[in-house]
């Protein structure tokens, strides 16, 4: 029974936009599969890992209607390895899906579509936000690297989304550093907070385009829906209490220095050569007109980098995990960054000159 006659690329694109969340090894065998629903001239593709569900559609013509699930990776690998522009057909016979392309033929096993888990529609009122894909992608890029990874404080393994005061704020922290960014949005939306799971954030960052195409965000119940292009991504939210980020953003640190971002980044990258996986600490030594970065390791090797800066305040010697400093410098794009410091036990606040919408807080290391 012929289902689809199409071109490789007309199927591979949509498949790739849903298959990213499919886990390689999952507890339920069917979750390695992608759901294909052919109805009329429309093919719906849907994948889920039970926490996230992504759906998209592709236009087709002709062929019979059917629903089935088939191994997502296998189908994707087959399509990807075929030459671009190849004509392909999908055929379903006796629970086997046959992919034909030229002289190639693949018979794949399927599992019934009825057994494929789908996320329930969120109940209750939902909050609706609209902004461009580019703006949200940029916002995610400013903070997502600071999310915790497999932290036991599970609510840190994600990103806090706050709608308040005519702003959309995003916050990520791993308990040692915190990144905050905001974007103006339309006023008069109810104050809302939600924690997006890490995987959802990474998937969005991967899929959103650098374009002014619209993105719609629907927050309601315990889930969030993102609609962009032909894609609908539904994700569960992390149920937990995110720490109060406002209270850890320091106010009134007395020592302010403005540093060229790339100069600082490159100095830190060089100094980091003499740190190792376990000892990521560097000393930052602040004196009049000078900022020194010093890294030393267990083999008594030492790196010293000095940057000339416009600074005339008190001296300071404070240690930081170099990764935390590199992360922020690599993920912002301004020419200069501003650092505010207090003493060797206090956090550092890194901001962008003339921009109130981005803040990065990093705690020092105890040396």
């Amino acid at each position: 029974m012929l289902l689809i006659n199409t071109q490789r690329d007309a199927l591979l694109g949509p498949l790739q936009s849903v298959s990213g969340i499919v886990e390689k090894r999952h507890t339920l065998p069917i979750l390695s599969n992608v759901l294909l629903e052919k109805q009329g001239d429309r093919l719906t593709l849907l994948a889920t890992d039970i926490e996230i569900q992504i759906k998209t559609t592709a236009a087709t013509s002709g062929g019979a209607d059917a629903s089935l699930t088939v191994g997502a990776r296998k189908l994707q690998d087959i399509l990807r390895s075929l030459p671009e522009g190849t004509d392909i057909s999908l055929q379903l016979d006796d629970k086997r899906l046959t992919v034909k392309a030229g002289k190639s033929r693949f018979a794949l096993q399927t599992l019934p579509a009825a057994d494929y888990p789908r996320m329930a529609q969120a109940e209750g009122e939902s909050l609706k936000l609209a902004l461009t894909q580019k703006r949200f992608k940029r916002l995610l890029g400013l903070v997502q690297y600071a999310m915790a990874q497999q932290d036991i404080r599970y609510y840190l393994n994600g990103l806090l989304l706050v709608v308040a005061g005519g702003e959309l704020r995003v916050v990520a922290t791993d308990g040692h550093r915190l990144a905050y960014a905001s974007e103006p949005i339309e006023e008069n939306l109810a104050r809302t907070e939600a924690i997006l799971p890490r995987k959802t954030v990474l998937e969005l960052a991967r899929q959103l385009a650098d374009s002014d195409e619209p993105l719609e965000i629907l927050l309601g119940g315990n889930q969030v829906t993102f609609r962009f292009g032909a894609v609908e991504l539904v994700s569960k939210l992390i149920d937990g209490k995110f720490p109060d980020y406002e209270r850890v953003i320091p106010q009134g640190h007395p020592k302010l220095l403005t540093v060229p971002r790339l100069t600082l980044l490159h100095s830190l990258e060089r100094a980091a050569i003499l740190t190792n996986e376990k000892f990521r600490g560097v000393r930052t030594v602040l004196a009049e007109g000078s900022l020194k970065i010093i890294a030393a390791n267990a083999e008594q090797e030492e790196a010293v980098e000095e940057i000339e800066i416009d600074y005339s305040g008190e001296a300071l010697d404070v240690g930081f995990n170099v990764t935390y400093l590199l992360d922020v410098l690599r993920n912002v794009s301004n020419e200069n960054v501003e650092c505010r410091l207090n003493d060797s036990n206090s956090s550092a606040l890194i901001t962008l000159p003339g921009n109130e919408r981005f803040k990065y807080v990093v705690m020092p290391m105890r040396i």
Partner: protein, 391 residues
Amino acid sequence: MRRIAHVDMDAFYASVELLRRPELRDLPVAIGGTGGRGVVTTANYVARKFGVRSAMPARQARELCPQCIFLPVDFDEYRKFSRLFKAAIATLAPHMEDRGIDEVYVDLTQIEEDARSVGVEIKRRIREATGLTCSVGIAPNKLLAKICSDLEKPDGLTLLGEGDLERRIWPLPVSRINGIGPKATERLRAIGIERIGELARFESAVLVDRFGPNYGRWLHEVALGRDERPVVTESEPRSRSRETTFERDLHPARDRAELTRILTDLCERLAEDLQKRRYVGRTIGIKLRFDDFTTVTRDMTIHQATADAQVILHVARLCLKRVRFARRLRLLGVRASGLSPADGAVTGAPADAGWETLPLFAASSGLQPPDEPSGSAAAGESSGLPPAHRV
């Protein structure tokens, strides 16, 4: 040769209650089942004459002995007397293995005196400390000592010497052996074995054939009165767990909501148990039994020991992700091991502790204002559990 005593308190709960209510001493008394439902936990010897037994439904006990007096269970009181009688034994023979609230094994190998004197002295000291009687069995190993202590209950003292195995143990039914339950008894009966002596006459190979290599070999050994298990004095628990068998087998996907509820409940009960005992665990594990009775376990060691239900649930879920679900489930369990006292310093700090980045969120308030004067930084290290563990 080793010399092991098994000390078993006589009708423990009932006897403790009767200390408080001596006027009931000659009447039938059962502990538990006061609401008319539930089961009898212990009956005194008067009630036992009517056929009232431990674990018997209260309704049945009432039918057998309508005049029986039912008293509510008071575990705090029993635990108090449990500590007292164990302390009394420890004054004489400190090498002791705790087997629960009312029984212990004591290794007497290092004690010079003859077995009977030691037995008499143990009973005397327990009586002095608690006013309670016990039954003591003294034998070359734990297996025989346990069988012995039961032979002359109540207030018994049974010694097993040369030749006593054949004379006193072999005539006993196989079910007297700790480890031969109703099912095994039934299967042994099916091949004509009812007494321990009959079991002893069977070839090891035959038993292995019937009962599998481990159990078969063990049956053969115990019938010959052999048991090499040492008396284990370790008092710290190694793990705590909670598990439940479902009323019906559950489908991993279709009954997901139900499974989630059960898992959450198990984690909460485990956390409660740990908190009550003031322990935290570093390894959290799950146990699953499928409808074909295959059992799988997965565990995961976390950075910081915990007794928090949310954390246990989170780790249990990570463990579950590593299981392949191809069948329905009949049992789910959660375990915490690698236990340490909750108040003790929590270990697990990385090797480069001196180079750690300070926490952004501190212990007590859940936050550490980083712009406070130095000194406040130390607040982050004070407690064992970071605040973030509490949601």
